[in-house]
Symmetry: C2
Subunit: 436 residues, 2 copies
């Protein structure tokens, strides 16, 4: 007999079927035992007599039995299979679980949830987070493909500190040093010379020197880059289209998962665009704290400007634009109207930056000059510079932090909840031993 999934049982009332899965819970009523059997499609109630006591929660079993319709008043409306139950005729234990270290249905602190990740990922809320993450990845991919972008695989081992950052992980690369890529930036720009519009879904690495709720050492970046732009505004239009596409797709296809977080996504909005300088003025008026000379928003400022935008424009999103040259990498296009500013933007979502992007310098000589001005050795950029030496159109792009989108969408407290296996300065799977 071929196994069927739990949710298929409702089409087999009165028939004998085979199901398989994990025992999610067990209730003994005298000789009668009720089990909640969990498989990838959901829970199914199975009922049997005198089951051996040793079958612990999370044990994996395969059950043959008859699907019976439950009496109307006994049906469980919360369960997709709630109108049926399975009467056990034969049960086979495929894997016997050890006693669980804690009640999986209870609330767990984050360190415990991370220490026991392989087990804890099996809970409904965790599964929902990663189904939604899959959905976001898919929506991004489908939408940019429709817009004519070509997917490529960007390397993650790089020869030098590409963006001049200090938060790099060095690799022992044979008898040399190499580094983990902080972003696919230089490669996606090179690929604009090949396919005009490209995207890549890749890992990016930052050796964050502290623990925060919004940084992780390894994260997934949804990156795109496009050539032949008429203006840098096109980039924000593209970003807005992608973000709206994601929200629409998730709202449409992940109702059940969103429900676990009491979230419903508004998909009708326009994203306002505010210059950094204006944003700082607004913040000064609202908070009386004078940060008007700062080159960036601090985390509190990001939250406060989003509150303002929510009140005034009813949008969870806002583009902050025109960051100063000093806060952006060497390849950022200067604002022709004010060369101390750049044609760059961040997209904030409910108080957190989730996208960063902008127009890039496509002129070879200007780029070369900037590389020197930023204190880099042009020789380290010979390879990258070829793309510009041999003809590059006006172009720009952006990077979307996947885990940050999920965190904000579901209002998770910590970005570590939005990644199956988070890495930070204290943890790779398990906590790293203190320094010896």
């Amino acid at each position: 007999m071929k196994r069927i999934y739990n949710k298929e049982t409702i089409n087999h009332i009165g028939e004998k079927v085979k199901v398989a899965g994990w025992i999610s819970s067990r209730r003994d009523h005298g000789k009668i035992v009720f089990l909640d059997l969990r498989d990838k499609t959901g829970l199914l109630q199975v009922v049997g007599e005198s089951l051996e006591e040793k079958i612990q929660g999370e044990s994996v079993v395969q059950i043959e039995g008859k699907v019976k319709e439950r009496p109307e008043k006994m049906q469980n409306k919360d369960l997709e299979t709630g109108k049926v139950e399975l009467e056990i005729e034969k049960i086979e234990v495929l894997s016997r679980a050890n006693p669980l270290p804690f009640d999986l249905e209870g609330e767990l602190t984050l360190p415990v949830a991370l220490d026991y990740r392989p087990l804890v990922l099996r809970t409904p809320k965790n599964k929902a987070i990663f189904k939604i993450e899959e959905g976001i990845t898919e929506s991004f991919r489908n939408n940019v493909k429709k817009m004519g972008f070509t997917e490529f695989h960007s390397p993650t081992i790089v020869p030098t500190a590409s963006e001049g950052g200090s938060e790099l992980f060095p690799i022992d690369y044979y008898d040399k040093k190499a580094y983990l890529a902080q972003s696919p930036q230089l490669y996606k720009q090179i690929m604009v010379g090949v396919f005009e519009k490209v995207f890549t879904i890749t890992h990016a690495y930052r050796a964050e020197p502290s623990l925060t709720t919004r940084h992780i050492a390894e994260y997934v970046s949804l990156d795109l880059e496009m050539g032949f732009i008429d203006s840098w505004q096109e980039l924000m239009e593209t970003g807005e289209k992608i973000i709206k596409g994601i929200l629409k797709d998730i709202q449409k296809n992940y109702q059940k998962e969103l429900g676990l977080f009491s979230v419903s996504l508004d998909t009708e909005f326009e994203i306002p665009r505010i210059k950094l300088k204006e944003a700082l003025e607004i913040l000064y008026k609202r908070t009386k704290k004078d940060q008007r000379q700062e080159p960036d928003l601090d985390p509190e400022g990001e939250r406060e400007i989003c509150k303002y935008v929510k009140e005034k424009y009813n949008s969870d999103f806002v583009f902050i634009t025109h960051y100063p040259v000093s806060k952006r990498p060497f390849y950022t296009y200067p604002d022709p109207e004010n060369p101390e500013l750049t044609l760059s933007f961040d997209l904030l979502y409910k108080g957190l930056e989730i996208v960063t992007g902008g127009q890039r310098i496509h002129d070879y000589n200007q780029l070369l000059k900037n590389i020197k001005k930023w204190g880099n050795d042009p020789k380290d950029f010979d390879f990258y510079l070829q793309a510009f030496k041999y003809g590059m159109p006006p172009e720009g792009g952006m990077a979307i932090g996947l885990e940050r989108v999920v965190k904000q969408m579901l209002s998770l407290n910590n970005i570590r909840e939005a990644i199956p296996f988070p890495r930070d300065m204290q943890r790779i799977d398990q906590k790293l031993n203190e320094k010896e």
Copy 2:
């Protein structure tokens, strides 16, 4: 005026349009100049008078002009836009290319092709390779999604040598050591406990100590893992279905690209399954070289057994099965009929291994025993072992080497041609300096 793509010009005969792209070639006939303008959709002939001489090949231009139908006998059948040409009314140079270091239409040696990758990737053959690679990635993803697999993002920073390999890249991870993942193996197994069937498209890293035509330090692995298998044969059935899906999709959607390599893909075949021991016997009969006691096929053996299979079964593919325990990682399921062998397989394609897979041990105690037997410290596997301690179904999976599939499909000489930015012991983008 909004830019249109080159291939759209054929729908605008007699109209004024704007196009943009790279100058692929230039032919001067007295005052008349012919340009081949290249954009992401292909080439377009443009013609103008007295263009300034400085516009080199690969310069990026934007052209406004009138689309004219060419006289019948002047039409270029090889070009999608061959029946029209554009008469230049206005040309704007968006980016001036330097003189090219060589003729892009000529044959290049591999080192030159790699040194000048950003430029060389723009040639038709290179573009075809990476469009096909995109197509393979997409086909894999679509097919496994249809089969009910869930996508997840696997980490690439790992705490220990997960598969006991020596070819690891160490990372300076804050004040500790960590490593680049050789595969997502342990994580995809953990995720079977969550979603039953999972896949991930990820980077894998091997510090190959030598230069070969089939190894690179960083490659893309199409990985999947599935629970509740009835038998390990199911894994090969799944693998065969995926591979056939890829061949069908590429044959259907990439005719033009395949044509550049004079390749047509046969999609009607059955993949034979041959035990390693039998394969070695066959090789002995064919070559008289006695390697019957070897635990694996060598590269010559892989090529020879594929020749045999092609002759006998008319298949470009063959599953080699039942590798000895000694040649497989600790998690490989032993053959119940002969505990010195494993329920594992490689899939060879035209003489090269492109897939490796098998059933895994899902019993916690058996796995623990094997970890010790392989000389590992179980403490290093505490995290991974949780997945088995708390219930894991019978399961297995496989990994497909993306670049190897492309290499074999297009009969490329070197795997470096199948990756946009190859890394090996001598090269990250540019050649690494000799050891100081």
